[in-house]
């Protein structure tokens, strides 16, 4: 059952005096209940903007986002639509995502209140994310980044989300904590039957936890597929480049291949296929026409 549908979403950033930036330029994506989707791409490709739009934090310029049959409306100054409280987010920076002035137990209790849960105690949730129960009475500054991120996950889970979004939740953590926290998020989401949209630029971690992978480049999803398939047989040249850039610790001494060039300015995207200036196999058609089909948006893989 499809829980979250993002259809041809466009999100624009307007800054007075600067050209309009299309951070998300027509992206489509679905997440089913109990499914883990990994969204990967370089910095600045629009992953986080897409995640924020799904939470209603960035308004859509065009296209639609539907959650459980309800359109996602931008979160203004009014209280958030109750129907959308099922979407909860874990943020990138664990040091900014907890209120430094409040005990963590009180912050988790906010999530419980959202769900109308009067039975569960904040300490129960701390236990679920693998922390001691007595942490509830402490303040955030007493914890490490990994512990804070677990607390942030506990708070999001307290609201009983059916759709959990992780906006690069592990990129600010120590290498030792990254895989742990990623797995914890997956296990907790799947256990409760919720969908998980996990955003990361670290493909090797996404591979461990995602059922499906969506690859994003400059505001567009360029390839979607089952994790094992994408991993074994990446079809879009950009996906290949991303996978080729992962170091292989096999002792063979093969250095990771580097993708030349930088991500173009999203305010002034290249003509035709957005990837063509960096693509090793670009053809004439790539410079002229944009591939708007899926699941692999590349002229080499145009559906018949």
């Amino acid at each position: 059952m499809t829980l979250l549908t993002v259809d041809d979403l466009v999100v624009e950033h307007r800054t007075p005096g600067r050209p309009l930036v299309r951070a998300v330029a027509g992206a489509s994506l679905t997440v089913a209940a109990g499914e883990v989707v990994g969204l990967v791409g370089e910095s600045g490709c629009g992953k986080s903007t897409l995640a924020r739009a799904v939470c209603g934090l960035n308004p859509a310029a065009s296209g639609t986002i539907t959650f459980d049959g309800h359109p996602v409306t931008p979160l203004g100054l009014r209280r958030r639509n109750r129907a959308l409280a099922g979407i909860q987010m874990v943020f990138q920076d664990p040091y900014a995502s907890l209120n430094p002035r409040r005990r963590v137990g009180a912050q988790i209790a906010d999530g419980l209140r959202t769900a109308g849960d009067t039975v569960t105690a904040p300490a129960d949730l701390l236990e679920r994310v693998g922390l001691p129960r007595d942490f509830a009475g402490r303040h955030p500054h007493e914890f490490s980044g990994g512990q804070r991120q677990r607390i942030a996950i506990a708070r999001a889970l307290a609201a009983r989300p059916t759709m959990l979004i992780g906006d690069e939740p592990i990129s600010a953590l120590d290498a030792s904590a990254q895989a742990q926290v990623a797995r914890l998020m997956r296990d907790l989401a799947v256990e409760s039957g919720a969908g998980l949209l996990f955003i990361s630029h670290d493909l090797s971690v996404v591979r461990l936890i995602a059922d499906r992978i969506a690859v994003m480049y400059l505001g567009k999803i360029v390839e979607v597929g089952r994790t094992a398939e994408v991993w074994a047989d990446p079809r879009h040249p950009y996906t290949r480049a991303l996978l080729g850039a992962i170091p292989a610790p096999d002792g063979a001494g093969v250095l990771p291949a580097e993708l030349s060039g930088d991500v173009p300015d999203p305010a002034d995207p290249p003509s035709g296929c957005r990837f063509h200036p960096r693509c090793p196999v670009a053809m004439d058609v790539c410079r002229e026409r944009e591939p708007t089909f899926g699941p692999v948006a590349c002229w080499l893989h145009e559906p018949a």
């Binding site: 009014r78 209120n99 999530g111």
Partner: protein, 279 residues
């Protein structure tokens, strides 16, 4: 009990002792004052000496007693004034910063309007329009004092409102009001507290200034600014104006020292410098 390191500094201790002394004087003025502050039974314009250590004024009132009783007027009114400015300015500034758009525009344009006038002149105009009394002087200073807090609070709120924990709260269904109260305001109080402490001196100066100009306390009430004003009329008897002037000076100085210390204590960047200076 040991003082925190940030407070174990010469200026902090001097400021604390002076402020504490004035508060004790204000509370215990009836016990400490040697004479009735309003009684006119001493020789007129007697220079400082036994029985009247600060001298007497042109009506034969004991200046020491009047300065002591003056603390009961000036200090509570100044504190009340600052507390009200913080509440009004802080709340308006927080709303401007949090709600943005027309709320922000409206509140901040009013603040700019007040900022556009020289403080003392605007306070004089307001006090004159309301009529000369100490209460009206407080109101007049309030009118000119709140915009500073509004501006500072707005800036701080703008910096905090996009932080992830505030957004998380909103995603959990906090109303804007609850978000402001629970997540935003507790995280901006430090700098506002510093500003308020530093402002106690300014507020006292402004309040005494209005009384000095005849727009505040009315005779015979022993208000420091009014006492300085009456001393100006008899310049040869230097003690009449000097002692209430010194009272104002010491209170302003004390709260400035305390405000500076508070700022250092709350700003982690100065923590190291504090360590080196601490007693």
């Amino acid at each position: 009990m040991k003082l925190p390191q940030a407070w174990r500094q010469p200026l902090a201790i001097v400021g604390g002792v002076i402020a504490l002394a004035w508060i004790v004087i204000a509370l215990a003025a009836p016990l400490l004052a040697p004479h009735d502050p309003l009684a006119q039974d001493l020789p007129r314009l007697a220079s400082p000496g036994p029985g009247h250590w600060f001298g007497t004024d042109q009506l034969g009132r004991d200046i020491l007693s009047r300065v002591m009783y003056g603390a009961r007027l000036s200090i509570p009114l100044t504190l009340l004034l600052v507390v009200l400015s913080v509440l009004i300015g802080g709340l308006l500034g927080a709303c401007a910063g949090y709600f943005g758009k027309w709320v922000d525009e409206t509140i901040m344009r009013f603040a700019d309007l007040v900022f556009a006038f020289p403080t003392i002149i605007l306070a004089m105009v307001v006090a004159a329009a309301l009529g000369a009394s100490l209460t009206n002087a407080v109101l007049a200073v309030l009118v000119v004092a709140w915009p500073a807090y509004a501006r500072v609070t707005r800036g701080l709120v703008l910096g905090v409102r996009e932080r992830e924990f505030v957004v998380s709260g909103r995603l959990l269904g906090f109303s804007a009001w609850r978000s402001l109260r629970v997540d935003v305001l507790p995280n901006v109080t430090g700098p506002i507290l510093v500003l308020a402490t530093l402002d106690i001196g300014t507020a006292l100066l402004l309040l005494s200034g209005l009384s000095f100009l005849g727009l505040g306390a009315k005779p015979p009430s022993p208000e420091w600014g009014a006492m300085v004003a009456s001393g100006v009329e008899v310049f040869d008897s230097w003690w009449v104006a000097t002692f209430p002037g010194l009272a104002i000076l010491t209170v302003v100085l004390a709260f400035n020292f305390l405000g500076d210390t508070l700022r250092d204590a709350l700003d982690p960047r100065t923590a190291r410098a504090i360590k080196e200076r601490a007693l």
